[in-house]
Symmetry: C2
Subunit: 174 residues, 2 copies
């Protein structure tokens, strides 16, 4: 599948050094087919980076359960070494390459933020949703990329127990 090939190559080589041709080769298809399906390298990156957010499922939990569901999801997704490596690599690309940053901002975090905002509602919904995302992003980076000991070594249960009340404050209507 083209998207899987793209995810593997973006994760391995980063955004800049991954080409449409290399993705096509790995997927065993013609580069023209990649362009036909995705339109651009940026769009292909967006499709590859989006893999790990089952937003419908998360939002079905409703406002009050959203912090727990979001934490569960992130901690589960990174539990598998292969998915973790891919997610880390994609995240690094997003923070270092402008085109990948635009994808993270507009297509991944932007899309999630809009739907989270309409789920939590109330004043400042967009800002609250974006800050909820920001805190989960900070957790992910601290635990899996920077590997801050207290956060990296904590069990998922302890992390959720300590962080959830803070995130719940963010989704509470004020």
């Amino acid at each position: 599948m083209i998207r899987d090939a793209a995810r593997a190559l973006f994760a391995e080589h980063g955004y800049e050094r991954t080409t449409i041709r290399a993705v096509a080769d790995r997927a065993g298809v013609d580069p023209a087919l990649v362009m036909q399906n995705f339109g651009s390298k940026e769009a292909l990156f967006a499709a590859a980076a989006r893999w790990s957010t089952p937003l419908d499922e998360l939002l079905a939990a409703g406002r009050t359960e959203l912090p727990q569901a979001a934490l569960d999801h992130v901690l589960d997704a990174f539990e598998d070494p292969e998915r973790r490596a891919a997610a880390e690599a994609l995240l690094r690309s997003c923070l270092t390459h402008p085109a990948a940053q635009a994808v993270l901002r507009d297509q991944v975090m932007g899309a999630a933020q809009e739907r989270v905002a309409s789920t939590i509602g109330g004043p400042d919904a967009a800002l609250r949703a974006a800050l909820l995302n920001a805190c989960v992003l900070g957790l992910t980076i601290s635990r899996y990329l920077v590997e801050v000991p207290a956060v990296a070594d904590a069990t998922a249960t302890d992390l959720e127990r300590v962080l959830r009340p803070a995130l719940e404050r963010l989704v509470e209507p004020t």
Copy 2:
């Protein structure tokens, strides 16, 4: 000053492409003096990256005022375009280069976390302190590196108003 020269070069070229020789040249000193003062490139990076955390001042605020003080500090530090550019570049290096990551983990976040933990006290103090850092890191990355619109466009006052109660939950004894 050697540290200023190092900060400028690390910010401009990233961790890997900055050499002790280049830092010495820029500071107008002999490379041996740089090594004599800092011992290694990693230690020099640590000194350059540490510039922006007046930890004594932040911790003097005490447990309950710490979230506000931390937010004030971060938002102030990034207000100046030059300091912002340097901080962003340092942060990117920390997330992409293993040696710089070790500095962020052990010398910057680790040191801050230990002192924040002893200021907030109570059960899970180390984890609470680390998660407070993680949320502030997530805010910084969302606002200044990824530039998520709701977070990037909000006023400092609005950001503090919305995020502070969540961070206060993290420093409350439970």
